[in-house]
Symmetry: C2
Subunit: 251 residues, 2 copies
């Protein structure tokens, strides 16, 4: 039996708790991150940490709170990991053996996710800890990657492009439709297929549309139609970027 | 039995041909767009048009060739439609009754698509023609929309944002990963979930990440990491756009 303590109550904490709870070989405990005042929260961590003797303690709190929680963590020489994509492993102090257990996914409250398909990026300072994190990760996911803090930092930037920025393009599509009384639903199959194509093609191979065809007439007509100046700028910049990727001449 | 002639051999023509071929109540013929020289292609259109007496002739060629094909089309007072998202219905001349039959999807050669989920945008000049196009569209798709040329023009711009530009963000994510020896596959479940979220949330509700949290520290760190200047510009512009959508202060 592997004993795990999760510190925190946010989306990542909740989804990890659910995934671990479904494993017969894992016993999981949680310290609520909602305990107020903060001193009582740290008291809660102290209580559960000294009581449970877990194999790994997982700090799943906001990035800017990780160092503080690690600072108040009462044990020494135990395995203490965080779940952040952006924070380096070193944000945890060296009173304990540090590690990272980062599930690369966008979690929404109340939305059940299938953890089996969620990549988990692990990092640790000793080979033994790495093996333990790997074992735990493999129990809940089919996609486990050893990723250094440096790589994870890069991955986090890439994730912002394919998730937050992509979602903003959906939002712009939505706004354009709404302004012209067109149901946004009409674009959803296209959005789905754009993502699905990556199962068989690279993004470069999958590209279509006026920019990759160097179809200046359509590009000019689209720019003319956009009344919102920041959408115009985004259109120009991404069109130029597509041309650059595909070796077309710039705007 | 509804008789349809498809003029063209591109992706849209091929996929429409396949979808129609699976309908018991449709008889479909095709004029290859690959016939060279062009005079022979127009000869081919003339031959099949005079022979078949179809209910509808579908021009599925490149946007800038539609007018020319319509010009060489030998019949009069028959229903002649195109399949373009960008071209207005009026690009077809008035020798015939015009219409549009635009499947809003990104087609890839060799990739089978389920037409049932593909929105088909139809337009016609007479109510009778509209009913015929609706009947045909409904035979192959569950999602049929009456969309004017003006709305279709708008829809095409929106489609560029959610398809071509989104795909370019995937490409940037891919390049960032490759440059740091990280497998792009690690981002694919995130990409998939970003699209899937739209089944239950609006893009605005689904947004996460540093921009919507106004997390300037992470934003600054991401910008510092991006060595490619055009990626930096795209990062800044889309971050500002997210802040604008969510009423956050600008960069």
């Amino acid at each position: 039996m592997i004993r795990i303590v999760i510190i925190g109550t946010g989306n990542v904490a909740t989804h990890l708790l659910e995934a671990f709870s479904n494993c017969n070989t894992i016993e999981v405990f949680q310290v609520s991150g909602r305990i107020q005042p903060e001193s009582s929260f740290f008291q809660g961590i102290e209580t559960i940490a000294t009581k449970t003797k877990a194999d790994v303690y997982i700090i799943a709190v906001k990035d800017d709170k990780i160092a503080e929680v690690a600072h108040h963590f009462p044990l020494k020489n135990t395995l203490l990991v965080h779940t952040s994509g952006a924070a380096p492993m070193q944000v945890l102090n060296d009173k304990n053996r540090s590690g990272v257990f980062y599930p690369l996914q966008t979690f929404t409250k109340g939305n059940t996710v299938n953890f089996k398909n969620i990549p988990i990026c692990i990092e640790a300072t000793t080979e033994k800890d790495m093996q333990l994190l790997k074992k735990i990760a493999t129990l809940i996911s089919n996609k486990v990657y050893q990723i250094s803090s440096e790589q994870r930092k890069t991955l986090h930037v890439a994730a912002v492009f394919v998730n937050n920025f992509t979602n903003q393009l959906y939002e712009i599509g939505n706004e354009i439709c709404e302004n012209h009384h067109i149901p946004f639903a009409i674009l959803k199959p296209l959005i789905q297929e754009t993502a699905n194509k990556l199962n068989t093609l690279s993004p470069k191979e999958a590209q279509t549309g006026p920019a990759v065809r160097n179809d200046e007439k359509t590009i000019a007509s689209h720019l003319e139609q956009l009344s919102n100046n920041s959408y115009k700028e985004i259109y120009k910049l991404l069109t130029a970027s597509i041309k650059e990727t595909h070796g077309r001449k710039k705007l």
